[in-house]
């Protein structure tokens, strides 16, 4: 008699929360890195170490470019605010 089995599994989610602020650039970058590179628990130790080092490097790069993107976006919004007659608001935004 043939018996074919299959099992359903549910993965694990992580929950992160903040108080009176949004996520920081570093926190967003960490989430991105975790999606880009997943290191399996059962991977050999030398591979895990190499992957972890690579992950740290990717994190640094993503942090840099997210900060750059945020800065550029604020510059654009500040320019629009100045054009609309809100120079002080624009200055406040640029000082964040």
């Amino acid at each position: 008699m043939l018996d074919v089995t299959a099992s359903f599994s549910v993965g694990t989610v992580d929950v992160t929360t903040t108080d009176n602020r949004g996520l920081s650039v570093e926190e967003v970058a960490q989430r991105a890195v975790d999606k880009i590179l997943y290191i399996a628990d059962e991977a050999p130790e030398p591979l895990r170490e190499q992957a972890a080092t690579f992950k740290d490097k990717i994190h640094e790069i993503i942090v840099y470019y997210i900060k750059h993107a945020v800065d550029q976006d604020r510059a654009t919004v500040a320019a629009k605010l100045r054009e609309a007659g809100f120079p002080e608001l624009a200055r406040n935004l640029r000082s964040l």
Binding site: F8, S9, V10, G11, T16, T17, D19, N20, L23, D34
Partner: protein, 151 residues
């Protein structure tokens, strides 16, 4: 009253009936709703979620706050895939901003088809954001980690 991480039994049956479509293009709309098990819920009843859950329920759901509206947030599907002998699918992370929320777990359900339940998720403790961001980070879309796996 409790929330237990489980694939809903009704979902397993419905998969065999081709009820749910997780494809990135043209798939159903899946939502994630947050629940409290004590006083954090918007109603006096607390949530009981697990394998026996068959559909979205408002009992014990957290109240609307910030970008969280009752009924929960829509999930972005990741195309189903397979690796080895495991088929799997996943979702992108979901964030609710400027939200004051205390939640103990969540329910993923299919809002395209009578709000049928997919799976219940236990956060293993109350998670609280105060006028901040409440983020649910889904696991990597891989055979040993993805949120929904059939092996």
């Amino acid at each position: 009253m409790a929330i237990t991480t489980a694939m809903c039994t009704s979902f397993k049956k419905e998969v065999l009936e081709a009820v749910h479509n997780f494809k990135l293009s043209g798939g159903d709309t899946f939502k994630l709703a947050l629940y409290a098990i004590s006083s954090g819920g918007k109603s006096s009843t607390t949530a009981t979620l697990g394998a026996a859950t068959t559909a979205f329920t408002t009992a014990g759901e957290v109240a609307s706050s910030g970008s969280y509206a009752t009924g929960g947030g829509s999930l972005t599907r990741i195309d189903p895939s397979s690796s080895g002998t495991t088929g799997f699918t996943d979702f992108s992370d979901l964030s609710f901003t400027t939200a004051t929320i205390t939640a103990r777990g969540a329910l993923i359900y299919n809002s395209s088809d009578s709000n049928k339940a997919v799976c219940a998720l236990d956060f293993s403790g109350d998670k609280t954001s105060t006028a901040g961001t409440f983020t649910i980070t889904f696991p990597a879309a891989a055979a040993s980690t993805a949120i929904i796996r059939i092996a």
